[in-house]
């Protein structure tokens, strides 16, 4: 296990211990995830990549408590996950905003179950509206915003109640390349300012490397860890790092891994 470097330094924020997930599809057991062991350190940024159907979203949902593992367990600060909780914020690929609420309303809604005072809540909302660059759009409805702006509201909504973990499921997958680049830089900025542990699922290898401290490559059918690759690029990172030779080397390695998996899958489908 240690050669896969699934252990983070120090006490783990999130521990995924022997987690497996089996779906029952019309009477047949389908193993989506076989056995995953992974520790994620406090304030670490971990990206998960893999071919489609490798179970990366399922894994994220299980950490979020939206899905239950069939074997193994997930620990947060040493305590087992039992359903969703306010120690974790979730950002989905579909923006999933409450369309009938304004930008401010969406963010404030997330604070309803918090014990902050009214003044503190207003301050938090204002702070996060500003942090995601939406000042001036407080009273706008999601319908009036672009995709990138909507996802910024979703990020603010997921962070405003001060969770210690941010779970992101292909959050920028639906955005155009330029907007995506800006959002990635914004996310790193927010991560740096607010100190959260991030688990980020994507199929975009550039994105995975650019953001993460470690990239987890999943193998498919059943989903399992193929490789954990520490990314030793200096922070703070900007778009310039994308053309760095070290970056290219990481990218080559991950692409080769994913390609190998894709070829295996194609061979499986043809047999």
């Amino acid at each position: 296990m240690s050669n896969l470097s699934t252990q983070a330094a120090g006490a783990a924020k999130v521990s995924i211990v022997g987690v497996g997930k089996t779906f029952n599809v019309s009477g047949r057991d389908l193993v989506a995830i076989e056995k995953i062991d992974l520790d994620i350190g406090r304030n670490e940024f971990v990206s998960i990549v893999g071919t489609s159907g490798c179970g990366k979203s399922t894994l994220l949902n299980m950490v979020g408590g939206l899905d239950e593992p069939t074997s193994g367990e997930i620990l947060i600060d040493g305590k087992p996950v039992n359903g969703p909780g306010r120690d974790r914020g979730f950002v989905f690929q579909t923006y999933s905003l409450f369309e009938w609420m304004t930008v401010e309303g969406n963010i404030r809604f997330a604070l309803e179950k918090s014990t902050f005072s009214k003044a503190e809540k207003s301050e938090l909302v204002a702070h996060f509206v500003h942090a995601v660059g939406l000042s001036g759009f407080e009273k706008a409805f999601p319908k009036q915003l672009s995709g990138g702006m909507r996802q910024r509201v979703a990020i603010a909504r997921a962070l405003v109640y001060k969770p210690s973990i941010l779970l992101m499921d292909e959050p920028f997958g639906a955005l155009d390349a330029q907007t995506r680049g800006m959002m990635q830089e914004l996310l790193l900025q927010i991560w740096d300012d607010h100190k959260v542990t991030v688990l980020f699922v994507t199929h975009d290898v550039d994105e995975a490397i650019f953001l993460a401290d470690r990239v987890v490559v999943l193998a498919s059918r059943p989903g399992r860890i193929k490789k954990v690759l520490p990314i030793e690029l200096e922070r703070p990172r900007s778009f310039e790092v994308l053309t760095d030779p070290t970056f290219a080397a990481y990218k080559r390695e991950i692409l080769a891994d994913i390609r190998e998996e894709t070829l295996k899958l194609m061979a499986m489908d043809h047999s």
């Binding site: 999933s96 369309e99 009938w100 179950k113």
Partner: protein, 277 residues
């Protein structure tokens, strides 16, 4: 040069054709288009009757139909009929809606309730409402209650299933977002699922009240002494085709008005919705 580069050889012009796939056309033309067929039909109707191609018994002239409408209006019959019918429609539709909304919402969210009710509702909705008239009289008498019962039966079952679908169609991640934010099932139901499904439910309202209108004649088939549908059925006995035609067209017009009101209402209630156009 640039014109040739387009390849067509013709001068590059702004394309303004009215028959382009999925292309918007000016609003004025769009609205005017709706009048073309009615106007053509009206002219045809007029021509056919004016030239005496059909006997008035089969198709009275437009003028005699309009005259019949004028007579009913002047004698106060029209207003009396319309208010009785509108009252029945409103009560019948509201009764169906008041039950269909919670039933549909529960069916859309709880598999057990869907499993419990779906087979029953799906069967009943195919039963012809006309066939239930004798039973409805037996159960509800011959007063307004029976008419309202028929309208209820014609509306409720379809409506409940449609509302179930409206609820199911909302983005699952909205519910998940609610769960991650710490809301209880009950809160998610009331504060997330319900508002998210509301624009769709409103569309269902608009469609189903149209169906309630179409059941009006069926509801007033027996033992009614007033109502727009009743007037048509009475006219049948005396072969007053002008009364029949006027009554039918008038019900159509009231239906159109209802539809318009719901459309406008939906637009101003759900400005925030990405579904409203």
């Amino acid at each position: 040069m640039t014109q040739q580069a387009t390849g067509s050889g013709k001068p590059a012009r702004k394309r303004k054709g009215l028959l382009k796939l999925r292309q918007d056309i000016p609003d004025s033309i769009f609205s005017a288009a709706g009048f073309v067929i009615p106007v053509v039909l009206f002219l045809l109707w007029w021509a056919v009757t004016a030239m005496g191609l059909v006997r008035p018994l089969f198709l009275p002239s437009p003028w005699s139909v309009i005259g019949e409408g004028w007579r009913q209006l002047m004698e106060g019959i029209l207003f009396a009929d319309a208010s009785v019918s509108i009252y029945r429609i409103l009560i019948g539709w509201l009764a169906a809606t008041v039950i269909a909304v919670p039933v549909g919402i529960l069916m859309g969210n709880y598999k057990l309730i869907e499993g419990l009710l779906e087979p029953l509702i799906s069967t009943v909705r195919y039963m012809p409402v006309v066939a239930l008239i004798p039973l409805s009289i037996l159960w509800a008498g011959i007063g307004d209650g029976q008419k309202i019962l028929i309208l209820f039966l014609g509306t409720f079952f379809q409506q409940a299933l449609m509302i179930m679908d409206n609820v199911k169609n909302i983005d699952l991640n909205l519910i998940r977002a609610g769960q991650t934010l710490g809301f209880s099932n009950n809160e998610i139901l009331r504060r997330i699922i319900l508002p998210a499904a509301l624009p769709g439910i409103w569309d269902t309202f608009r469609i189903t009240i149209g169906w309630t209108w179409t059941y009006l004649v069926v509801a007033e088939l027996v033992a009614a002494n007033a109502g727009l549908g009743r007037r048509i059925m009475d006219a049948q006995r005396y072969l007053s085709t002008d009364t029949i035609l006027f009554g039918t067209l008038f019900i159509g017009l009231l239906g159109l008005l209802t539809d318009y009101l719901f459309k406008r209402g939906g637009r101003s209630l759900f400005k925030w919705s990405s579904q409203t156009r």
